[in-house]
């Protein structure tokens, strides 16, 4: 067998296999998506359909759908308010902590402790968390007592603090919002190379110039992503806020009024509210995708 023979054989093989190879790529990527597609269908599309369908059947109609939003405007305002505030605070503190943990060199274990703790705390919420804060900052809480008896300052005689009120929820939410932000931004902060900072300094840039022209633009996409993720996180929180305040005027609590309970008759209202909630969050996520694309395009050039 000569070299040319081998070459032709190979070529021949190629030619022979050319047909199936050319066809396969069309299907393969889709086959890989199948499990994800099935998951999406079962756990996202199907439940969404179920909710929307119930919002418009029975006593539900387009009129009641819009009326529900009108009636519960205050709940949406309440939800948006607590979500915006906790997401904004989360971005500020989360990014700062992520930066500190990523750049601190002295205790070498610091970084791993911060990220391990964040992993746990970001997934902590609900009744347990609310109860922990009650025992710390509730009216009979340990922290409240220490401040009252030690410093002579009664938190509950002030206008601004009450664990069951708005700033109380914000305080509790921060317990999972900040760690979530740390988890999101830590990889991005790691991407900030020391060389960039040195280069900026070499060219006469101050710390401020560095952050304004290098650091923040690089971090922006993940900060933005974190902001919207935390917005959705806070918007959807139910157990935590309900345990803190069973009269809380936020959408998830209003939905639960309609879905469970001993008193009222079930109607399409909770489903209409849930549909509105899906719309709000879909808008937030759509905005996130647009902004992120823009930020990344800028970042790439």
């Amino acid at each position: 067998m000569t070299v040319t023979d081998i070459a032709t054989t190979i070529d021949g093989d190629r030619a022979a296999s050319a047909v199936p190879v050319a066809r396969r790529p069309a299907l393969r990527p889709w086959a890989g998506l199948l499990p994800f597609g099935a998951f999406l269908f079962l756990f996202l599309l199907l439940p969404t359909y179920g909710i929307v369908e119930k919002a418009f059947t029975g006593d539900g109609s387009p009129e009641t759908f819009f009326q529900t939003f009108q009636d519960e405007r205050k709940a949406f305002v309440g939800s948006v308010k607590v979500s915006l505030v906790t997401a904004a605070l989360g971005v500020v503190f989360g990014t700062a902590i992520a930066y500190a943990a990523a750049t601190a060199t002295r205790p070498r274990w610091l970084r791993s402790v911060v990220s391990a703790f964040s992993g746990v705390a970001a997934n902590m919420g609900g009744v347990v968390l609310a109860f922990l804060f009650f025992t710390l900052l509730g009216r009979q809480g340990l922290g409240t007592k220490i401040v009252r008896e030690g410093l002579g300052y009664d938190l509950y005689k002030t206008d601004w603090f009450d664990i069951t009120s708005f700033w109380g929820w914000v305080t509790v939410y921060m317990y999972f919002q900040i760690p979530l932000m740390v988890l999101i931004t830590l990889p991005a902060v790691d991407g900030l190379r020391p060389a960039w900072r040195e280069a900026s300094a070499n060219l006469g840039g101050t710390t401020w110039t560095y952050w304004r022209r290098v650091g923040l633009p690089v971090l922006a996409p993940s900060m933005l992503g974190g902001f919207l993720l935390m917005f959705a996180n806070a918007f959807s929180a139910y157990a935590t806020v309900y345990a803190l305040n069973n009269q809380a005027n936020v959408v998830p609590v209003k939905i639960s009024f309609g879905l469970s309970g001993d008193v009222g008759v079930r109607s399409s209202t909770p489903y209409a509210l849930a549909t509105w909630m899906i719309i709000v969050i879909a808008l937030a996520m759509g905005g996130y995708l647009l902004l992120r694309k823009r930020a990344e395009r800028w970042h790439a050039s």
Partner: protein, 418 residues
């Protein structure tokens, strides 16, 4: 109630739907509870778990036989029929699926235990003990045709009407039907109300030394930031009762709940009312030092508060006497209809009645038991005073519906969001 709100982490979009539908979260909790419940099916476990507490249920053992045979018993059944029912239950699953019966509620722990003692071999797992009445109805729909579908339910009167309308009940007339007052049973046998209670005000006297005795007392400035209702009256039956009782205390009536709403609006305005729900955790931590709840929830709670090192005082406000019951019935097309009937027979039996009494609840057959001499002085200890109980008249379905509508419309603007 007890679910974690944080499914979010990676898949933001997915979380939206999970969250958007608060119901899913509840289902999670329900599932957890459900998976726990079957564990009790192992015969040994149940008995072991239950015998650790409430040994007092042994006392009534001696009484029942004679009283069930008493002349008052209906023609519909005597002891023989119950034996046949027990046998049918043993032959058909030997299990009754229960739901939404918290251990500390009206001494259900003791009543569940006495059922297992009286009917050996029949299991009575309780799914999702803290479920609301609506969640009980949901469970009937969602678990329909499955072996863990609820066999018997205990729901608020409002939800009982809904259940009748939906055909969820299988009518069943108990063997002691004649001894149950007419206002504590459905004329068509869909449900019986085995017990009822009135609204009580419990106070943690370690934190608040001077316990309020009436609704009027709750206005005092010394109770700033310590008065709690058990939930939101727009959704919680016990909070609804608290508002209705306050209404009666303030010039309202079963037809007029408005003064009650105004009363709590005032309590909120002066800072006495706090929006924290009354449950084991908040009561034990002292976060709800003064709590308005059903009289029959207090004996259970009191023990827990005392174990936490506090002292407790319970008062039955004489200015706002409001009585309420829950409706118990057999679920239609359930997996264990015979055992379900046996369970209903048990809760209206003497053992069941004495069990409720121990939990501070007024059993429906109180008069019959008293006549038969089945009640001793000690078992009355937890009961509200007789002169208050005698004032109790229950709301009609129309009154409940009317009051609910007024609450829905006014509680938000006047109290919750004010």
């Amino acid at each position: 109630m007890r679910h974690v709100n944080k499914t979010i982490a990676g898949l933001a979009v997915l979380s939206l739907v999970l969250a958007a539908c608060g119901d899913d979260d509840d289902d999670d909790a329900a599932t957890t509870a459900t998976t726990e419940a079957p564990a009790t099916e192992a015969p040994g476990t149940t008995a072991a778990a239950a015998t650790t507490a409430a040994p007092a249920t042994e006392a009534p053992e001696t009484v029942p036989a004679e009283v069930t045979e008493a002349p008052g018993t209906t023609a519909a059944g005597g002891g023989g029929d119950l034996d046949a029912l027990y046998q049918a239950c043993l032959d058909n699953g030997a299990q009754v699926n229960l739901i939404a019966l918290p251990d500390e509620w009206a001494n259900y722990k003791g009543i569940l235990e006495s059922f297992r003692e009286k009917y050996p071999g029949v299991e009575n797992p309780v799914q999702n003990p803290n479920a609301s009445s609506q969640e009980e109805l949901d469970a009937i729909v969602n678990l329909s045709g499955q072996p863990d579908m609820p066999d018997a339910i205990d729901v608020s009167p409002a939800k009982a009407q809904e259940a009748i309308a939906q055909g969820f009940f299988e009518p069943y007339v108990t063997s002691v039907d004649a001894e149950i007052p007419d206002n504590l049973k459905d004329p068509d046998g869909h449900w019986v109300a085995a017990y009822y209670g009135i609204i009580a005000i419990g106070t943690n006297t370690t934190i608040v030394p001077n316990a309020p005795q009436t609704f009027a007392d709750l206005r005092k400035p010394e109770y700033e930031g310590v008065v709690a209702l058990n939930g939101d009256p727009r959704t919680s039956g016990s909070a609804f009762a608290g508002v209705m009782a306050a209404s009666i205390a303030n010039g309202g009536s079963p037809d007029d709940i408005m003064p009650g709403i105004e009363f709590f609006a005032e309590l909120k305005e002066i800072g006495n009312l706090i929006p924290t729900s009354v449950d084991q955790a908040t009561v034990i931590s002292g976060e709800t030092p003064i709590a308005i709840d059903w009289s029959y929830n207090w004996p259970g709670l009191r023990g827990q508060i005392e174990d936490a090192g506090y002292t407790v005082e319970i008062h039955f406000p004489s200015d706002g006497v409001y009585g309420g019951y829950y409706s118990q019935g057999v679920v239609a097309d359930s997996p264990h209809p015979d055992c379900a009937k046996l369970w209903i027979e048990h809760i209206v039996s003497n053992e069941g009645a004495l069990g409720y009494l121990e939990g501070g609840a007024m059993p429906a057959r109180f008069a019959a038991l008293e006549e038969a001499g089945a009640i001793d002085e000690a078992s009355l200890a937890e009961l509200p005073p007789a002169d208050l109980l005698s004032q109790v008249s229950f709301l009609t379905d129309e009154q409940v519906a009317a009051a609910t509508a007024v609450l829905e419309e006014n509680w938000g603007p006047m109290v919750a969001d004010a």
